[in-house]
């Protein structure tokens, strides 16, 4: 097996893309292409899991494609295997889901040719073992996902989202290019093996790390580089949103881990607080915006930003512990990061697929237009419940496990020698707890408004359950969420070789613990057993249900509800998305730049009173708009250079030559 199997699946996926160009308009094309890419993804996932389970070492392969005399170097080690498994699982779920969901696509020729290629390019990013292959695949991944964002290009929002995404992706790749250029050093070796061998000064290593935070962070969605994410991810068709949010952000995390923990070598400890601060800030801001937003898919995209923040916080902790030679603690943090990446792939894909099903059934994705879906789409609603429970980090589901591991790491921070970190990490832990609580609030709002209550529009009242393929894919992901929640020990053991590779230690084997308990730090004796929690929840839940049924069901009376004096209340009077968000918007007004205005008509005026409230992304108004204005201003000025006379052009060339010569003379 090894890298050859994974490389073959990448080739198959890229070939499928080419095949789809020719056949996209045929009626059978969506089913066939999605099934084939799903199969390729299953092979990938198995290749990754098999390599992890058998502790296979690094396998590498050189393909004579790419730069002359150099070829493309591919390699699969434990870290690649983890992300390969993640990519395969997420890709397979999205593909099989799309076998049903994709039938509703109006213009399949705008999605089909790009979808398998997008998966293939992500595979190549993960397998790449030289800078050229890495950057090329990264750019192909960006461009194909851009094409997918533009699938519904007649929508004005999609077009501006696509433009913003393209600009940010180009910027990110340029920064990555600089990072790799710095790492290659004077010898110009661009193979990863050669990059690892170079000795770097701490300053260069820190610079590379900073560039990676910007380059990989802009793809992953770190605040303040996140602005494209909540517009671009939801603009794509839902199975693509699932891939972009669930998988592509993880590919960015992979790139960050690969460079900052593997290639660049030792990094000074003082870089880690920067990453922790960015991570925590991303987590809190992401979830705050998620709570404020009214669009189902945008809520999920903002929540992706939060989870990326959590992952980067864990990575920052791993960096801090590793820089201080505390390998065991670093392994704990790294395991938490990897586990959260895997878990987030599962529940975020699930939730995006749920939103896709809702969108297909009702034609709407705004929370305040939905409601009462639990009666119309019971199976989808149940699976959505599993997803929101997992993403809210409630035991016994998987989201809890990784966040719990992360908090275990935070609790180890007093062992760090630097006072700055000793003070900062607990504060970061507090903010993470805030983010986790806000996430729970956010998804109570999401589920409560969209699935419970009464339908707020006619489309929703007429919704029907979604198709079997979609349900199957969502059920698969929900099952994985549950399994990862109650059997976390086995998953942690699978991730151990990757942590071992990048931080030089692993947490103790968990597979053989009694009652499937997770004991990450043996001497502190904190432990968690998802299985026992599930048994407890099941037993107490059943007991309560039985008691309620036994004592209350017979005494049920049906009568008119008290209507507060407003008979036949309109569904719009229900507690809605804005209502749940309001208290948090008031409390967090300064962070969110919240504004709220009430326009009362003067006495005698027949006009309606108006109330408007909203939030603003400060990153957008304080950072992006000024930069955009500066760029536009500069280009407008420089535009005059397009219309000079011949003699002025000559004069310009002449003047710059003289200037350079004078500079040279003075410099000497």
């Amino acid at each position: 097996m090894g890298v050859a199997a994974a490389a073959t699946t990448a080739a198959v996926l890229l070939a499928l893309s080419l095949g789809a160009v020719a056949t996209a308009r045929r009626r059978w094309a969506p089913a066939v292409i999605y099934m084939l890419s799903g199969a390729a993804c299953v092979v990938q996932a198995l290749a990754g899991i098999a390599a992890l389970a058998t502790r296979a070492g690094t396998t590498s392969l050189t393909v004579p494609i790419g730069l002359p005399w150099m070829g493309a170097h591919l390699a699969q080690d434990a870290l690649s295997s983890v992300f390969l498994a993640l990519l395969g699982t997420g890709g397979a779920a999205a593909s099989f889901y799309a076998a049903g969901y994709g039938r509703h696509e109006h213009e399949p020729q705008r999605v089909l040719p790009f979808f398998p290629g997008f998966l293939g390019a992500m595979t190549l990013v993960i397998l790449a073992a030289d800078a050229f292959t890495f950057l090329l695949s990264w750019e192909i991944m960006s461009l194909l996902s851009w094409a997918l964002v533009l699938a519904h290009h007649r929508d004005e929002g999609s077009r501006s989202a696509g433009y913003l995404y393209l600009v940010m992706a180009a910027f990110g790749t340029m920064v990555l290019l600089l990072a790799f250029g710095l790492m290659a050093g004077a010898q110009g070796g661009y193979e990863f093996a050669a990059i690892r061998a170079v000795e770097r000064t701490p300053g260069i290593a820190a610079l590379v790390l900073g560039l990676m935070v910007i380059g990989a962070g802009s793809k992953a969605g770190l605040v303040p580089l996140h602005v494209w994410l909540p517009v671009a991810h939801p603009a794509a068709p839902s199975h693509v949103s699932a891939l972009m949010s669930g998988v592509m952000t993880k590919v960015a995390v992979y790139g960050f881990i690969r460079v900052c923990f593997d290639l660049v070598g030792p990094v000074d400890w003082w870089m880690s607080p920067i990453i922790i601060v960015i991570g925590v800030g991303t987590a809190v801001m992401g979830i705050l915006f998620a709570i404020m937003d009214g669009d189902g898919k945008r809520i999920l995209a903002f929540s992706t930003i939060e989870n990326i923040g959590v992952i980067f916080t864990a990575l920052g902790l791993a960096l801090a512990f590793r820089a201080n030679g505390m390998q065991a603690m670093a392994a704990l943090a790294m395991t938490a990061a990897l586990l959260h990446a895997v878990n987030h792939m599962m529940f975020k894909s699930l939730l995006f697929m749920v939103m896709g099903a809702v969108l297909n059934a009702t034609g709407r994705k705004d929370l305040d237009g939905l409601g009462g879906l639990i009666h119309r789409m019971p199976a989808t609603s149940f699976l959505a419940l599993v997803g929101v429970t997992a993403i809210s980090a409630l035991p016994p589901l998987n989201g809890f496990v990784s966040e719990w591991l992360l908090f275990q790491t935070v609790l180890q921070s007093p062992r760090l020698p630097q006072p700055a970190l000793q003070f900062m990490v607990p504060a970061a832990g507090g903010l993470l707890a805030l983010a986790a609580a806000l996430a729970a609030a956010c998804f109570v709002r999401f589920y409560g408004v969209a699935f419970l209550g009464r339908a707020r529009s006619g489309d929703v009242a007429a919704a029907t359950e979604t198709d079997r393929w979609s349900l199957g894919a969502m059920a698969g992901m929900a099952l994985l969420c549950v399994l990862a929640g109650i059997l976390p020990g086995y998953l942690v053991d699978l991730l151990a070789p990757a942590a071992d590779l990048v931080v030089g230690a692993r947490i103790a084997p968990q597979g053989g613990n009694a009652w499937l308990t997770l004991v990450p730090v043996a001497d502190v004796r904190s432990s968690y057993s998802g299985f026992l929690v599930m048994v407890f929840v099941a037993v107490t839940g059943s007991a309560v249900a039985w008691l309620v049924h036994r004592l209350a069901s017979q005494r049920l009376r049906r009568g008119p509800a008290w209507d507060c004096g407003f008979p036949n209340a309109d569904p719009i009077t229900q507690y809605g998305g804005g209502s749940v968000a309001q208290p948090i918007r008031r409390v967090m007004a300064s962070v969110l730049a919240a504004h709220e205005t009430v326009l009362m008509p003067r006495p005698g005026d027949m006009g309606p009173a108006r109330h408007s409230a909203g939030v603003e992304d400060l990153a957008w108004s304080r950072l992006y708009l000024p930069v955009a204005a500066a760029v536009i201003g500069a280009t407008t000025r420089l535009n005059g250079l397009q219309f000079l006379t011949i003699r002025r052009y000559l004069g310009l060339v002449f003047a710059s030559l003289i200037l350079l010569l004078v500079g040279l003379a003075l410099w000497n």
């Binding site: 006379t645 003289i658 010569l661």
Partner: protein
């Protein structure tokens, strides 16, 4: 022997710079062409002298090319062109003669200062001086292209710039012969193309003053 060789090379290269100054202030077009021919002749002599003192026989061929093409064919062709265009009157400079001459002097000072500084480590004093003069000729050629309005005198400026390049190449013993030949031919072809354009411009605007082009594009000066 060596000092003698050095002096003559210095003299020839220096006179090239001097002739470049003559090109700058020469405001009659036929006189301009004659001065240009003189410069090309001096270039041919300088190259031939380099060939003699370096013992590099291929440089004789370069000298011959310079003599035949630059000193005879190009000025003669331009002569014919000017006659057929009927523009053998004044050459208008955009900037006055005195500021142009002052700027030229500044450029020569700059190039000598720069070249002597940069090549301080080099053994060959001859090459150092030659490079300084060559850079002066190049810069003066560019200056001429910038300050003239008439298309023909811009062509002359371009050709004189190219003379500077040849001088630099022969002095530094660097440029392979093939490259030199191709440069010579490309200059010749450039002249043909520019000549064709000159006629097209004249046909269209009744003038070879490039200001006419600017007016046509709706530009203000």
């Amino acid at each position: 022997m060596h000092d003698y060789a050095f002096d003559i090379a210095h003299l020839l290269a220096g006179s090239l710079v001097l002739v470049s100054f003559m090109l700058i202030y020469q405001d009659r077009i036929f006189a301009l062409l004659n001065v240009f021919a003189l410069q090309a002749l001096l270039l041919a002599m300088a190259v031939a002298w380099q060939a003699y003192i370096q013992g590099a026989h291929h440089l004789y061929a370069s000298a011959a090319i310079a003599l035949v093409f630059k000193a005879v064919i190009v000025p003669w062709a331009l002569h014919r062109m000017v006659r057929r265009l009927g523009i053998h009157r004044d050459v208008e400079t955009v900037v006055g003669v005195v500021p142009t001459m002052l700027a030229g002097m500044g450029l020569v000072a700059l190039s000598i200062l720069l070249m002597l500084q940069l090549t301080a480590a080099a053994e060959n004093a001859l090459a150092r001086e030659d490079l300084a003069f060559a850079l002066s000729v190049i810069l003066l050629g560019m200056l001429m292209m910038v300050t003239r309005r008439n298309a023909v005198s811009q062509v002359v400026g371009f050709m004189s710039l190219e003379n500077g390049l040849i001088l630099a190449a022969t002095g530094a013993q660097g440029m392979p012969f093939v490259v030199e030949i191709s440069v010579a031919f490309s200059v010749l072809i450039a002249m043909i193309v520019i000549g064709v354009f000159l006629f097209r411009i004249r046909e269209r605007f009744d003038s070879v003053d490039i200001e006419a082009l600017d007016h046509f594009r709706g530009e203000r000066r």
